[in-house]
Symmetry: C2
Subunit: 110 residues, 2 copies
Amino acid sequence: MSSCCAELTTAPLSEERAAEIAPVFKALGDPVRLRLLSMIGSGAGGEVCVCELTPAFDLSQPTISHHLKLLRQAGLIDSERRGTWVYYRLRPETTDMLASLLRRPAEVTA
Amino acid sequence: MSSCCAELTTAPLSEERAAEIAPVFKALGDPVRLRLLSMIGSGAGGEVCVCELTPAFDLSQPTISHHLKLLRQAGLIDSERRGTWVYYRLRPETTDMLASLLRRPAEVTA
DNA sequence: CCGTTGGATCGAAGGGTGTCAATATAGAAA
DNA sequence: TTTCTATATTGACACCCTTCGATCCAACGG
């Protein structure tokens, strides 16, 4: 899973690589998941308890749990159970990979 | 549509901003559209003719046209008709916005 | 052991998405 | 105008996705 050098603007993506990346963007393509990810990513200590996420939305607990599962399956977050509670944290490798994919090659002094 | 400073990892996204951004990621959440975007983004002269895109896939012409429409509605590409042909080009402001949103704040010298 | 609480999973309902064949539209050429 | 070619739009179908209530599982406290 190479993650270098503005792939989007330098060469056409291979079919395989596109199939690999698309699901990650798809996971980001929902407002609830986007907010969940930003809450997790900006959480103090780098992690957030589910018990803090669920009440922040006007959605049922199973729905939030479902969205968290999708984010985890996309490789965007990780979870860890400690006692009764479950904590989620960002996986920066994944967001970094997407960011570098979208970045433009440094202005060819047009 | 502010686009500064690693919003994802610094503060929770507002409901409104999440609703604004999610559709753009959603447009990227399909392998065909990702490949289309990368072909357009890496096209010589900054633009690519539809007549070059359509035969590159094992899909019908209406299907490609549909995906291009979605990418355009998401603000990721623009189209221009010149004579019989239609040319698509990248809108870098949009991909730049996404990239900066995903970027991490420069390592707090952990 | 039992009851309670945090979280995940299941199953179903409703709306959305990707794909196609058929058709429509825009421009060039005859 | 008539015809041909390049894209876009329409309508239909199968599948997927978000959401919920109901239920299950794991961990702690009596």
